[in-house]
Amino acid sequence: MKPRQKKFMYILAAVALLGMAVGLVLYALKDNVSLYFTPTQVHNGEAPQGRSFRIGGLVQEGSVTRATDGLTAHFEITDTHRSIPVVYQGILPDLFKEGKGVVAHGKVEADGVMHADEVLAKHDENYMPPEAADAMKKAQEANAAEATSKPAAAPTAK
């Protein structure tokens, strides 16, 4: 083979490999990215149905109940504005506690309940998952907006 042909072969191989790698990455990303939503967004129907995603927030105080099998837990994730019921079968993480930050991954079915396949609480008790922190911040804004708009809107609304 002449040097030029050889060079061409290398370039061709490199481009083909690169193309395959990019294709692989894009294909894998398309199917395996899990989006994140706040409880308020899920409540407003902004989250996709039938597809897995994450919600973050706090475990609503007094919401945790267990089914008789002992392993299925029901609880609500709240951002202090809205809350979403979650059902999870399995052992909850050590740091799962009412009033503490949590992230759940799963599908929200037509009944509005998230069927979680994964529940995450963080290593450090005082550390808030960024998703949960973000949800709280947005909810505070929403709460504030509601508080200011209500008095003004009340006379005209109903």
């Binding site: 083979m1 050889k6 072969m9 290398y10 490199a14 490999l17 690169l18 790698a21 692989l24 990455v25 294909y27 894998a28 990303l29 199917d31 395996n32 990215v33 899990s34 989006l35 994140y36 994450r54 267990r66 099998d69 002992g70 392993l71 079968q89 399995g90 052992i91 909850l92 050590d94 740091l95 992230v103 991954h105 963080k122 290593h123 450090d124 008790e125 005082n126 550390y127 998952p129 960024p130 998703e131 973000d134």
Partner: protein, 666 residues
């Protein structure tokens, strides 16, 4: 007084590092022997100062000086002594100090073991490492000083995170950091070679053992982290594709590529520019790892509390390091020749494909790790990329890599004859295929992924045998031939064998593990993997700084008792944090794993329990250990201990190439 002494030592160390970063490099550029000669004394001083600072911080931890903010945040008067020492690097500030201390240790090692190198080279390498130290010391002094006082002092500390109170965590961070920071040596060698304009086989030979040592530490560090996650987090997983795991895995991937391309550069004088680029990239990814872990930008189990100032500083540091080294590369690299010629079918091109595959793998991990960050920054919302993405990308990349890995050591430099090579390996490949197809039936379950995993593992082992046979069989005494091979050859084979062991571990545990989450009352029995786990009872127990519920499990197989396990559910006094302490019966071909969930409220005492049967799981870490040992063997090679300034000749006469040619010629 002691904390102030440590703080003062840090400040002086910064000025020493500044001098180290400027004077020797200037000296090398102007050929000034005084400026070059000052490098070593400065390194000694810097090491002493950072050792002092580190000792001061350790001391305040040992004596429970809660007037130091960092101590009050990460220790407690009840904390056992060994964990007080580990708590030194249990948080952000202390781990940075550990980083800087290890960097000064590596610099010291280079200063001590470089007597045979030209003076300018040593001056430049030490200077570049000094510059890196400047960055870290500035970062520490301006944003995260571990010696900051807390006034008034706290009555008691907030305690070390219970997850970190574990023997594995005592050694995991130092090991990992030894690896991370060790790549700064490869980086410094690359940069000084660029500065000096002498990128040749000699440079590769100098830089190679350092890179391998760093790689060995990083391998051990990652394996320890994975092992720790396995037994400490209580869910029995060993790799989660967590951003922080990825942060250590990316430099490992590039470091592995670097080791292989350095081999080509040393033996054949080829790939020089590429090797330099890899050295720069590997170190940059180590820095990026620090950025990811310490800035809190990513959701991660390792993330410490966020401080935007820190993130911006590290980002600035990162941009400076990468930007200036790439500029230097662009400026100097064209002056460097491309090196020896080789055919498309040659060991060089096989190693090149190894490099390309490793780099692509690192890039895919990079994309998966940073994609959420970019999307968030661009306002497309928060999302996360989980294990399925990484598995989907990684497996297809690793399959060709492993297949080529079997061929690489058998192929000849410069040019090999494809039909001849195929003839040599056909039985090895055929037997690997047969084993892979049949073994899963014997084991009780056949899936394509299990067969694929076994094929790859047995292919490596079979090709390894062929390689050894070619080297060791033939005329002359067998023992003489055994002794005649270089240590680096055995090192390579051992490391490759480690990959096979690792693959067997992953394949078996993924394919045949049993995981059961169950509710158990006292006296209940649950079956997993042919074993019966019986909960005998749960009792209260107290540790030095925690109280725990301790389960008593009796495990039996076919009615015969195998072992007893005592998992704990702990509650730490100071932080109030609950913690699961799994109990594991480790075996050569299986682990039995029990961890306690919470107590289930009800009339009878019942607990949520995880019961796992994990076949061959320890082979995963054993494989990593073999890889690391292989690296150690390779460093022990005689040619690295030669104290001559002679440059090696780049031709087919180098020992390994000659061995291969002789063996392959028959």
């Amino acid at each position: 007084m002691i904390p102030e002494l440590g703080h003062f030592a840090l400040i002086v160390a910064l000025f020493i590092a500044l001098m180290l970063g400027v004077l020797p490099i200037l000296g090398a550029a102007r050929n000034n022997p005084v400026f070059m000669g000052i490098a070593r004394p400065l390194v000694y001083a810097q090491f002493l100062l950072l050792a002092t600072a580190f000792a001061c911080l350790t001391y305040v931890f040992l004596v429970n000086d809660f007037s130091v903010l960092y101590v009050s945040q990460h220790s407690n008067s009840q904390l056992p002594h060994i964990y007080r020492v580990a708590a030194v690097w249990g948080g952000h500030e202390g781990s940075l100090l550990l980083w800087a201390f290890i960097l000064s240790g590596w610099t010291l090692a280079v200063a001590l073991y470089s007597k045979h190198l030209p003076e300018e080279m040593v001056a430049r390498v030490l200077g570049v490492m000094g510059l890196v130290a400047v960055g870290f010391l500035l970062f520490m002094l301006f944003t995260s000083n571990p010696f900051d006082r807390l006034i008034p002092a706290a009555a008691d500390g907030r305690d070390l995170n219970p997850l970190l109170q574990d023997p594995g965590l005592v050694i995991h961070p130092p090991m990992l950091y030894m690896g991370y920071v060790g790549f700064s040596v490869a980086f410094a060698f690359a940069i000084s070679a660029l500065l000096g304009g002498q990128l040749d086989a000699t440079w590769a030979r100098w830089s190679r053992p350092w890179t391998t040592v760093a790689w060995v530490f990083l391998t051990v560090g990652i394996a320890l982290g994975s092992w720790w996650a396995y037994y400490e987090l209580g869910w029995g997983g060993w790799w989660y594709w967590d951003p922080v795991e990825n942060a250590s895995f990316m430099p490992w991937l590039l470091g592995t590529a670097l080791i292989h391309s350095l081999a080509v550069t040393e033996k054949r004088g080829a790939f020089t520019s590429w090797t330099v680029l890899l050295a720069i990239a590997a170190f940059s990814l180590s820095l990026l790892g620090t950025f990811l872990v310490r800035s809190g930008v990513l959701t991660s189990v390792h993330a410490f509390a966020t401080d935007p100032k820190r993130g911006i500083f590290i980002l600035g540091f990162l941009v400076t390091v990468i930007g200036s080294s790439l500029l230097l590369f662009a400026w100097r690299a064209p002056k460097i020749g491309l090196g020896g010629k080789f055919d498309i079918l040659s060991r060089e091109s096989l190693l090149l494909s190894n490099n390309v595959l490793f780099s692509v793998a690192a890039a895919s991990v990079f994309i998966g790790t940073l994609y959420p960050l970019f999307m968030d920054a661009l306002g497309f919302g928060k999302l996360s990329v989980g294990p399925p993405y990484f598995n989907a990308v990684f497996v297809p990349l690793m399959v060709p890599m492993i297949l080529l890995m079997g061929l690489g050591p058998l192929a000849r430099w410069k040019k090999f004859d494809a039909p001849d090579l195929a003839k040599r390996v056909r039985w090895a490949f055929a037997s690997a295929v047969v084993i892979a197809l049949l073994l899963p039936f014997v084991l009780g379950k056949w899936t394509p992924l299990i067969a694929l995993g076994l094929l790859l593992a047995f292919w490596i082992i079979a090709s390894l045998f062929i390689g050894l046979r070619q080297r060791l069989a033939g005329r002359g005494g067998f023992m003489r031939r055994v002794r005649g091979q270089t240590l680096s050859y055995y090192g390579m084979q051992l490391a490759h064998f480690g990959v096979a062991v690792f693959i067997i571990g992953v394949t078996m545990v993924k394919g045949y593990e049993t995981e059961r989450d169950v509710r158990m009352e006292i006296g209940d029995t649950v079956k997993a993997g042919g074993y019966e786990f019986r909960l005998e009872g749960v009792s209260e127990t107290t540790g030095p700084n925690y109280v725990a519920a301790r389960g008593h499990f009796l495990i039996s197989k076919d009615g015969k008792p195998t072992t007893e396990l005592f998992p704990e559910k702990r509650q730490y006094n100071a932080s109030g944090m609950p913690m699961t302490e799994a109990a594991i019966d480790t075996g050569l071909i299986r682990d039995l794993y029990v961890s306690m969930g919470e107590q289930i409220p009800g009339e009878v005492e019942a607990w949520a329990v995880r019961v796992y049967h994990k076949p061959f799981v320890d082979w995963i870490w054993a494989g990593c250990l073999f890889m690391a040992l292989g690296g150690l063997l390779a460093i022990g090679d005689r040619r690295y201990r030669l104290k001559s300034k002679k440059t090696i000749q780049v031709n087919d006469g180098s020992p390994t190439a000659a061995g291969i040619t002789a063996a392959g010629g028959k």
